[in-house]
């Protein structure tokens, strides 16, 4: 059934479905804000969207060697990454926060991260930020936030540094956890494509601009946060 023509019509997005509301599993389907944006991009290009669910840092590598066309996984833009891939206009301003155990807050303040055991997602912007800016006792690198949350509940780590929206999802589902007041740093998410893939980048940029204009992105958020 799949001729060569159809193959060319496929648009592949790489993501890591452990980052609600941006991307997460619903039944056996990957959904979320990023996926809605990806669908809009595919639609406007007239291609069929295929979602590859990988580890976060695996996805970023996959876009570099062309295994996927683009990555939509709450990817933060930074200088290091710009050297090896191209980024679209950002579609969200996010802030990174600190999640702690409510009953037993080992961290009092967002400024107070030195000498703490900090959980992050491996390859996530917070991983690098903490490594570069904090004198942590230990950085524990997880592939899944769920495992980090479990460890935080069990007191094996002192806090998790992560994006605000997923953090809100996290504390909503776990009474024992809380977000500290204040933000750690600001951050912009964008879609990553292979370095030099100008054609696709332009296409993506125009779709994102259009979505922003139509207020669609807020709509997407509403859809995916109201569920919990």
């Amino acid at each position: 059934a799949c001729g060569t023509k159809e193959k060319n019509e496929k648009l592949i997005v790489g993501t890591e479905a452990g980052f609600a509301p941006y991307e997460y599993m619903e039944g056996d389907e990957v959904v979320g804000v990023d996926m809605d944006i990806a669908k809009a991009i595919a639609e406007s290009m007239g291609k069929e969207l295929e979602i590859k669910n990988m580890d976060f840092d695996g996805a970023l590598l996959a876009v570099q060697n062309g295994t996927v066309d683009f990555v939509a996984a709450g990817v933060s833009v930074n200088e290091e990454r710009k050297k090896v891939m191209d980024f679209s206009v950002d579609y969200v301003d996010s802030v990174e926060v600190v999640v702690v155990n409510k009953d037993n807050p080992a961290v009092a303040d967002v400024e107070d991260l030195d000498d703490k055991v900090i959980g992050v997602q491996q390859g996530n912007i917070a991983d690098f930020w903490v490594e570069d800016n904090v004198n942590a006792k230990e950085i524990k690198r997880y592939t899944k936030f769920a495992q980090a949350a479990e460890d935080l509940k069990n007191g094996r780590i002192d806090c998790i540094v992560m994006d605000q929206f997923p953090a809100e999802e996290l504390v909503a589902a776990n009474q024992e956890l809380a977000i500290l007041d204040g933000i750690l740093f600001e951050d912009k998410y964008a879609i990553a494509v292979k370095k030099g893939n100008k054609e696709l980048l332009d296409e993506i940029n125009s779709v994102i601009e259009q979505l922003k204009e139509d207020g669609k992105i807020e709509e997407f958020y509403a859809n995916h946060t109201s569920k919990n």
Partner: protein, 211 residues
Amino acid sequence: MAYLDGLKVTLLISFMAILLGIAIGVVVAILKVASSNYKIKWLTRICNIYINIIRGTPLMVQLLIIYNLIFNSRNTNELVIGAVCFGINSGAYVAEIIRAGIESIDKGQMEAGRSLGFNYIKTMRLIILPQAVKNILPALGNEFIVLIKETSVAGVIAVTDLTKAAQYVGSRTWDILPPLIIAALCYLVIVMGLSRLLSVFERRLSKGDRH
């Protein structure tokens, strides 16, 4: 439903991988046995290098290397990728299974064949291999069971197998233990079911022919 899809992926990858593993294993085993018999050192050495590298490094590391080294084409199906990675790994183990199967046959059989006037290859084909199959098949069944368990690390290369499916269910509900236990039970049922099947099959094989 997520479990079912994951389970399907697990089983499909294991199955395709064992087929590929058998293909590689047969070739490597025959090359190795024949080259050591006819003293072609370099060929024996190549076979041994492949076997030693695969058996000397962790599956997970192999998986990551093979995946990043070989697959740069975007159109490859994830099942195919998984099957190829695990197949390359399994080939080394299958080769050793087959070699052991051949060597388990009493050397009197080779001598009896040769002394009737058969050459080496004909003795292999008519006398040794038909007997070796009885030892090889159960071991291959076992290797298949091992593969089913090993594919649980396939998650690192973007394949959503049973283990990864369970992890994602846990990510969504923020309660990671129950899905893992469900996955463990799935594996247990499959593995023990296959083991039982295998031992029935083995008993059948050995019944007709005790020597």
